[in-house]
Structures are given as C-alpha cells and as structure tokens.
C-alpha cells in the first residue's frame, strides 16, 4: 500500500487528536486525555512550538472505513541530556490497527531518526508500558535498550494539586 510521511500541518490537528485518543484507549488510559485539537494547534504551530509531529497518509482509495486518510502519527520534541547533549524524545508513535504491518510504523520512526540526525541529536528516547509486548518487540528489533531495567530509571511527576502545593510552599 502506498503512503506518505509528512510534517503535520495545523489542519491535521483534528486527525492527530482523534489518533491520540485511539492510542490512549489502547494504553487503557482514555480518561487521562484532557486536551483537544485546539490546544494541539496552539502548542504545535505557534511561534514557539512545543512539539513536532509527522503524519502518515494513504491515498483516497485506501481510506479507512470511517473515511480517514491520515492513519498514523509520530509526535516528538527535543530534550537535553547533561551527559550527552541533544536528544529527541518520541512521545507518541501510532498507526491505526487496520494499517499495521505495511511498514508505516517503521517509516515514521525512521523519519524521526532522520530529523534527529539532521539536528545533531545523539539519541532517541521514549517510554513504553511494561505490558505492551507488540511495541516492545518492535522497538527491540530496532536496537532499543530498556534503561529502566539496565539502569533503574523510574518516571516521577508532580501533577495538578501536588504541583500547585509545591509552587506555594514557603521557603
């Protein structure tokens, strides 16, 4: 099946928001999605973009049963390692189930890798849920290493009320 991988445009945000929700459902956390295509547009296409996004598109004749031609995406941004320097962090990588197995996931991550190389980034990081075997297998086949297992890293966060409380804490 023919497909293209292109940098997302503001008008793609509705499709991206749709696929973000599909991925959240797969990750069993759909109630955690709080933003819509409006925030995506504001935050990705303003003068100071907070993320970059690639979209995988198929021709009209291969559109999904719901009529979509935008069938996959990769959302990423630049981060910084005090040890190694510039890094790309891939926040989301998703291809609609009916379009899997056709090389789109591979093409999306390879394009992210190409952007990383062009920006002189030294590595690509991302996180995967420990039960997500199909994704783990995909990434391991590309040479990914589990740093949580290897070096013991855990993700922590201050969120919502905890963040507000921290900001108000007396010195």
């Amino acid at each position: 099946m023919r497909f293209t991988i292109c940098a997302a445009k503001p008008e793609d945000c509705k499709d991206i928001a749709r696929m973000i929700m599909e991925l959240a459902v797969y990750e069993k956390m759909p109630d955690q999605v709080k933003i819509s295509h409006k925030e995506l547009e504001r935050d990705g296409f303003g003068p100071n973009p907070f993320y970059q996004c690639l979209v995988a598109e198929v021709p009209e004749e291969h559109k999904s049963k719901d009529g979509h031609t935008k069938v996959g995406y990769a959302l990423f941004f630049y981060t910084y390692s005090t040890w190694k320097g510039r890094t790309v962090y891939m926040e989301d990588l998703y291809v609609m189930p009916e379009y899997r197995g056709k090389g789109m996931g591979k093409a999306l991550i390879a394009t992210v890798a190409k952007v990383a190389k062009e920006q002189h980034c030294v590595r690509l990081q991302f996180s995967v849920l420990d039960w997500n075997k199909p994704s783990l297998d995909f990434y391991l086949s590309k040479g990914a290493e589990d740093l949580t297992a290897k070096e013991g890293w855990h993700f922590l966060r201050f969120h919502g009320i905890a963040l507000d409380n921290l900001a108000q804490e007396a010195p």
Partner: protein, 193 residues
C-alpha cells in the same frame, strides 16, 4: 540514627556558633548565564559521579554554551550562588543548579521536564534544594504546564523520599512506564535503510 542532646549554649560554644552562623544559607537563585557554563559542567559531573555514571558525561563547555545560549536553546538552567565569603572549600560560589526544558504530553499539554537537579554536598540542608524546586514549580505554573516530570534511579532512595514528601508520584510503579533508548549507532542504521 542520630544520637544527640540539646542544651543551652555556654561561653565555650561561641566559636562553633559563629562557624554555624557563617554556614547558614545566604544564597540567591538566578537564571544561568553564558559565564556559568564551566560551573554547570562541574556540577553535572559531580552529580554523574554520585549516580555512579561519571564516565558517561561526554558533553563539553562549548556544547553547553551553544545548546543553552544559542539561537535555539535546548534547555533552561537556574543556578544557586553564595557570596564569596561563603564559597566552598575549593573556592566555588555556584553551588547548585537545575536544568529543565519544556516537553509535551498529547493528553494534557505542556509539561516542565526536570533534567538535572543538584546541590553540592557541603551546601545541603539549608533549603537550597527546596527553594530551587519551588522556583521551578512556579515557572511551570506560570507557563501553564500541567505537571513537572523527571526520572530518578530506583536505588536513589534519599532523592525519591525528597520528591515523594513533596507530593510526587512514581509513574513507573503506578502505571508501568519504562524508559527506552535508541543510541546514535542504531539511529543511523534506521536512517540508512
């Protein structure tokens, strides 16, 4: 566990009291400037040494300068500075730092990501770390971030306790997230296929 007594001070204690007064934190937090890069690199290496991964620091002052103070900053940094009369044993006045940048969660939007956070050992216990964390959380709230994220090594119980006391949640433990990495060699392999 600490075995100590509290007692009223006596005349013989004055030199110890003066020593402790001088030690008391008198510090400022400010945005890092280009002139701070060598101190920042020094502190990065000290933290890496504590994390038992000192040999993994390959970053140079030149890269820190270009990447933090060039046209496209990849990070932001705050430093804690003490006055000259409170300098460290080796003569340093920049005694702590935090490096952060903004990331994006497609579920909740902007986030502040805390990359490194470190205060020199001899300057701990005076509230510098707490003040840095407070400043960062103010920055996060002002920038409309939904949260502040960071990673901590699971053996680093003192840091984990510091964060948990302040309301942090362990997402690896609660939701099963694991950190993965594809290094440069494998990245290049992907682009050449």
């Amino acid at each position: 566990m600490a075995n100590f007594i509290l007692r009223k001070a006596e005349p013989k204690d004055v030199s110890d009291i003066l020593r402790l007064i001088k030690k008391m934190a008198n510090f400022i937090l400010r945005k890092a400037e280009p002139k701070d890069v060598s101190d920042i690199l020094r502190l990065i290496k000290e933290l890496a040494k504590f994390e038992e991964m000192e040999e993994q620091v390959v970053l140079t002052e030149k890269e820190l300068l270009e990447d933090g103070f060039g046209d496209h900053p990849f990070y932001h940094c705050v430093v804690a500075e003490v006055p000259k009369d409170k300098q460290s044993v080796e003569g340093y006045t920049v005694v702590g730092f935090a490096m952060y940048y903004f990331t994006y969660d497609p579920w909740i939007g902007k986030l502040l990501y805390l990359e490194d956070f470190y205060v020199m050992k001899e300057f701990r216990g005076y509230g510098i770390g707490s003040e840095i964390l407070k400043r960062l959380s103010e920055t996060a709230v002002k920038a409309r971030c939904s949260g502040m994220h960071f990673i901590v090594a699971e053996w680093n119980t003192s840091s984990i306790e510091f964060y948990k006391r302040r309301g942090a949640a362990d997402l690896s433990h609660e939701e099963g997230w694991r950190l993965y990495e594809i290094d440069k060699r494998n990245l290049l392999k992907m682009t050449s296929k």
